[in-house]
Amino acid sequence: MKQNQILTPMRRVRGLGAGHSGTHHFWHQRITSVAAIPLTIAAIIIAISLLGRSHAAVVQILGSPLVAIVMLLFIINTTYHMWIGLQEIIVDYVHEDKLKLACLMGNTFFVFAITFASAFAILKLSFGV
């Protein structure tokens, strides 16, 4: 051991090791992917059932509680899944530090904007006004 090295080798290895949150995104991506299967099938069925209908009918169906709840779950689950997914793509391909930070921030802004805008639209359809 070098003289200026106070840490033991084991402590040094541990210090450079896991950040204690390495599998967090992996696990959440799995949770949202399992949830996405029934939610996506439900969203496709809802979309098909609304094809060619008048605006008034679409508003009534999308605003009904069961459909609105399923669509809200679909949107929130999907955007969270997208958030993790694009972050993984960004850290794989964007290596320049400032550009990477900008991409990661842009990812977050996009995901929040889509989530809130879609959720607001569904809630407005449900509660009227």
Binding site: T40, I48, H55, I114, S118, F120, A121, K124
Partner: protein
């Protein structure tokens, strides 16, 4: 301990070995589908704008809803929607394949290639089914 000393000798001057790139490997459908899973996910990321547009238009009023209906009825709108629905179904089936692998099933060479083939055949078939059902729901093509 030759390796430990290599850093100080001529060995350090040699160009370091590079990891082989895609064109060196034998063609496998599984790696094509692996890349396609990421590409379809990337496409869907921006495709969600269609869903947001649809919901906001419905919440805004009849005129806004008429404009998205007009766009989706045009040939370019139909093409975008076709691409989006295929990417969605492909990514869903690719995700199921990954979940199967996560549970450590289907990892043998023939099983891997079968799952990759099932993903692409399944996603194209499902897309056709969804569009046929969609057109039937609207009462025929228009």
């Amino acid at each position: 301990m030759a390796e430990l000393e290599a850093g100080t000798t001529a060995a350090a001057q040699r160009p370091r070995p590079l990891s082989p790139h895609l064109q060196i490997y034998k063609f496998m459908l599984s790696y094509v589908m692996s890349g396609f899973h990421r590409v379809s996910g990337f496409v869907l990321y921006f495709g969600v704008l269609l869903i947001a547009w649809w919901l906001i238009a419905a919440a805004t009023g009849p005129n806004a809803y008429a404009s998205i209906e007009w766009f989706m009825g045009s040939w370019i709108g139909r093409l975008v929607l076709l691409g989006y629905s295929w990417a969605l179904l492909h990514h869903m089936l690719g995700g199921v394949r990954h979940l199967i692998w996560d549970l450590s099933y289907g990892l043998e060479p023939t099983e891997r290639e079968f799952l990759a083939l099932a993903t692409i055949v399944g996603s194209i078939s499902l897309t056709v089914v969804v569009w046929v059902v969609g057109y039937l729901a609207m009462g025929g093509p228009r």
